[in-house]
Symmetry: C2
């Protein structure tokens, strides 16, 4: 097999090596797959953009909380918010994640989809990554953008499958990834329908948090076909990566290993929701996934 021509894969930020070879081999093999089955899914946090020191959506919720407290100072005494404002980890643990999450979701309850999108836009335009001091849009991994573009160039439909809030990611996916809102699959919120008609956010999630097996079920509900490519970085992506490789024909499962303490962070991503104890990198090596070393395989990290 000769190598692909320049117009087939454009992966300048990928160093020559096994990960890049695996992509090129897969893209070539996928040409035998009908175009309507060339479906690729990417996890978001830690796979397409930086998730440290905290998830970008957590930073957004902090931004919303600060704004709400400015407008209504008495909110600061509500236990869930106080625990966050005072960084009181014991109080946070005592209250529990579900109660804190619901209190945070209440900050945007009542918003129409358009109003919520506007809020995320204001956050993205004004806030910066705490360690790198750049807008969050500049914490996207450039090699992954090149990979998405290469797949699209080869007639793949590219989806983002995130544990985060569907609408939070939709508000940024067009600008960051060239992925339209309809191709983002995440954790949904329940909407209230009233005459107008108008839709308003509630503080109640709709269905399961989109981590683990629910990622597979939600891919079926929203895409309707088994993807042949998946990329992830945590235990929350394991079911989705397994699902992709369990199908017939060519497939590729890619795991991003955060092993670059100089240019990014060195850590092993665990699923918060699933509380997984396994080493996902070890699982990936045993399962014959393509484990991508950020340190070795990427010449550039940020775009």
């Amino acid at each position: 097999m000769g190598s692909l021509s320049r117009t087939d894969t454009e992966l300048p930020s990928w160093r020559p090596g096994p990960a890049r070879d695996a992509i090129e081999t897969f893209v070539k093999a996928a040409r035998d797959v009908p175009k309507s089955h060339r479906i690729a899914v990417f996890d978001n946090d830690g796979t397409l953009w930086c998730e440290k020191p905290l998830y970008v959506q957590q930073a957004f919720l902090g931004f919303e909380l600060a704004d709400a407290v400015r407008a209504k100072p008495e909110l600061a005494s509500r236990p869930e918010y106080r625990a966050l404002i005072e960084h009181d980890e014991k109080a946070q643990a005592d209250l529990g994640l579900p109660r804190i999450a619901e209190a945070l979701l209440e900050l945007n309850a009542g918003a129409t989809p358009e109003e919520f999108e506007q809020r995320v836009g204001e956050f993205m335009a004004s806030q910066r990554h705490p360690d790198r001091d750049v807008p969050y849009a500049q914490t996207v991994y450039r090699p992954m953008l090149e990979l998405m573009e290469t797949l699209r160039h080869n007639d793949f439909q590219v989806f983002v499958v995130t544990g985060g809030g569907t609408e939070f990611v939709r508000a940024v996916s067009g600008e960051l990834y060239d992925v339209p809102p309809s191709d983002v699959i995440g954790t949904l919120i329940e909407y209230e329908y009233s005459e107008g008609p108008v839709l308003r956010r509630t503080a109640k999630p709709l269905g399961d948090v989109n981590e683990g097996p629910p990622k597979v079920k939600n891919i079926q509900a929203m895409v309707g076909r088994r993807p042949i490519f998946a990329a992830g970085n945590s235990g929350g992506d394991r079911a989705m990566l397994d699902y992709v490789t369990a199908g017939p024909g060519p497939s590729m499962a890619m795991l991003i290993d955060h092993d670059d303490s100089e240019r990014e962070y060195a850590y092993e991503s665990r699923s918060v929701t699933l509380g997984e104890q396994e080493s996902i990198v070890e699982t990936g090596r045993q399962a014959d996934w393509t484990v991508v070393s950020m340190r070795e395989d990427w010449s550039t990290i940020y775009g």
Copy 2:
């Protein structure tokens, strides 16, 4: 305003008149809408293809039932199936629609998505419309195909929003409408996830039947943006049609009026699920929707 050039709208099956003019005016106005907001949604049964004398999915379920009884004759004595096989309307009414629907859903329970798609393919390849004696694929309305194509040519993303089973419509949407499975929004079924991983259908619906206000909520969940064009034909589409026109900027709501007893059927489509008593055609006229007369506005009905 001059008329559109031939390459902009190709609507040869639409007779000159108010409906065709309204489409051309809307398509021109939509050029001022950002491409990412050019979203069009179409109901399926009675809007894109014929729904009489019974929904195509009902014919499919009859096909599945006949097949199951051939393989296992004792099934014919199960009350829900017997009422259907013997066309016993009183027994059907006594059992009630939910119980009959669940019994029918059980016929495909346990199937993987791929197996289910295969079954629908066998049905479509072997069965014919009872009155017209043609394959069901030939009961698609040609003017609506031209309209979908015109919208796509003007950078619209086109979705099918059906009260029917999501996967049933997905199995045919590519071939019939050039709409990929991911762009079909319907009534979902719950899947069972097990190690493999493998997904298998259950007999339980997931969420609401996709009629009325749930159509609007599911558009938000699966598309994430308010469409600017919607077409429907029954009370089950009313909320969706209202939602589209309640947004800012150019929009179009289209209602198909089945008034052609010679070439199709003459009837007013009511929502089975919502039990609506209103005349949707009257509602459409008062609401300034574009009411399409199949008899007057379409020179050809079938493709």
